[in-house]
């Protein structure tokens, strides 16, 4: 892993996402179509981040972890269809349910194909997607939380020597950060995008867990960042002071992400120089 790799595998997806967003300011001015900019930006950058490393995924994929990007692409397409259905973009639970069903059916990581596991995947996506945006959580908050969690998952992937997942999660984390900055620069209508980030967070966690070669107790670190989301959403709901609730809910997520990274560092092999 070197600077060229980082620029290529993380820089290009961020550049594409940012350009799509900036162009959408000009070409998608109407309130109804404004959210399409962010949806296309995140969906396209996900496919690009993956393709830069593994090429365009086959259907069905040659390796099970490739289902991650196929699922994210399909959920992104579903999210983009909202202008066709009246008020779909306002029904966060319905969107989360659709994302959950797609993820439960498509995401097939090793040892995760049982019916019960698929029900758990559905519930995870449902809870995470709802927690990202429900309870009047503002878009910038959703992007910051996604940035934190995906960055944490990227470090966990690096710890478990899965560089491709590390780059993918890292790229999507950087995309979330750039979306946050652009949202603060020019606030736009954001709808349905929690479907994509919800699947991304659950997908990266499950994928990392499936391929992690550490002991099970340390592998559970993959799920800690995700746990922070409903907790953060509840904190956001319970507190009334706008600055306080934003700060405390973000701190909750940060603490859980940092704990998961610590657990992973303790559990992984001694850090000699990594390949290559």
């Amino acid at each position: 892993m070197n600077l060229v790799d980082i620029l290529q595998f993380i820089g290009i997806p961020v550049l594409v996402a940012s350009l799509v967003m900036v162009f959408s300011w000009k070409f998608l001015p109407g309130i109804r179509v404004q959210p399409l900019g962010a949806l296309i930006a995140v969906g396209a950058s996900s496919v690009i981040a993956f393709s830069l490393q593994e090429g365009i995924p086959n259907i069905p994929p040659s390796q099970k972890w490739h289902w991650l990007v196929v699922t994210v692409a399909l959920v992104s397409l579903c999210a983009c269809l909202y202008p066709l259905c009246r008020k779909f973009d306002e029904r966060i639970v319905l969107q989360a349910t659709i994302a959950g069903i797609i993820a439960a059916v498509l995401m097939q990581f090793p040892s995760q194909s049982g019916f019960m596991i698929r029900c758990i995947v559905f519930l995870m996506v449902l809870v995470v997607s709802i927690s990202l945006r429900r309870f009047t959580i503002p878009p910038w908050h959703m992007f910051v939380v996604s940035w934190l969690i995906l960055a944490g998952l990227s470090i966990l992937a690096l710890q478990s020597s899965f560089a491709k997942l590390a780059f993918y999660a890292g790229a999507m984390s950087a995309v979330a950060a750039s979306m946050c900055l652009l949202q603060l620069l020019k606030p736009r209508e954001i709808k349905s995008i929690q479907m994509i980030f919800g699947v991304l967070i659950v997908g990266c966690s499950l994928c990392g867990f499936a391929y992690d070669q550490n002991e099970t107790v340390f592998k559970l670190a993959w799920f800690l960042p995700m746990v922070g989301l409903p907790v953060s959403a509840i904190v956001y709901l319970l507190l009334k002071h706008p600055k306080k609730r934003a700060l405390i809910s973000l701190a909750t997520v940060f603490v859980l992400v940092a704990t998961s990274v610590l657990v992973s560092v303790v559990g992984s092999a001694p850090a000699d120089e990594m390949w290559p």
Partner: protein, 194 residues
């Protein structure tokens, strides 16, 4: 009495079928079992365009069948047994960046034909399966010895060949030049007659 018959009949038929299966099992005199302790699979790759990096697989199993003097190989290598003298590096090689040991736990070579091409060297044509992809492979296999001793009859073969890992969908580090596409492989087998 009826209950006794109910239990005894299936038991009788089950046992008789088991006995029949044991009786018809072919006993192959020419089959050798690969001794994983004394067999080795070594690979080397060019690292960062500088040094040659070596690693090995410690678990090599399978059989060598000798039909009319011609060897037929069925070799299996456990990906989980990769050993580079670095736990971290082994983990990376087992990850989906390279071998994806969780999904593809073994690498296999099965030969289809062998031809003696001179002295103790055979041209062996077969198929190698790695990372879920099967490709034809032709290697020159040298018979390193055949002896009878207190451990039984033993036979040994060795081969060296090159593989392009990109042919097997292992692309990590090729574009950036951090690790060569071409991998040299040395396989030395020792087998004992079953």
């Amino acid at each position: 009495m009826f209950l006794l018959k109910l239990i005894a009949l299936p038991l009788f038929f089950g046992l008789s079928m088991l006995t029949t299966a044991q009786e018809v099992e072919p006993v192959n005199e020419s089959a050798f079992q690969i001794d994983s302790v004394h067999s080795t699979a070594i690979f080397k790759a060019h690292h960062l365009g500088a040094g040659m990096f070596y690693g090995r697989f410690n678990d090599v199993t399978g059989t060598i069948q000798v039909d009319n003097g011609m060897p037929v190989f069925a070799v299996s290598i456990a990906i989980d047994s990769v050993d580079t003298n670095s736990t971290r590096l082994d983990g990376h090689l087992k990850s989906p960046d390279f071998f994806n040991a969780v999904e593809f736990p073994t690498m296999m070579f099965k030969s289809n034909s062998s031809t003696l091409i001179g002295g103790k060297t055979y041209e062996v044509i077969g198929e190698i399966t790695m990372h879920g992809i099967t490709k034809p492979l032709t290697v020159q296999m040298v018979k390193t010895g055949q002896v009878k001793n207190r451990r039984g009859e033993m036979i040994g073969y060795e081969t060296e060949f090159n593989l392009a890992r990109s042919d097997f969908g292992m692309l990590y580090g090729i574009e950036g030049g951090s690790l060569s596409d071409e991998i040299k492989v040395i396989v030395a087998l020792e087998a004992v007659r079953k």
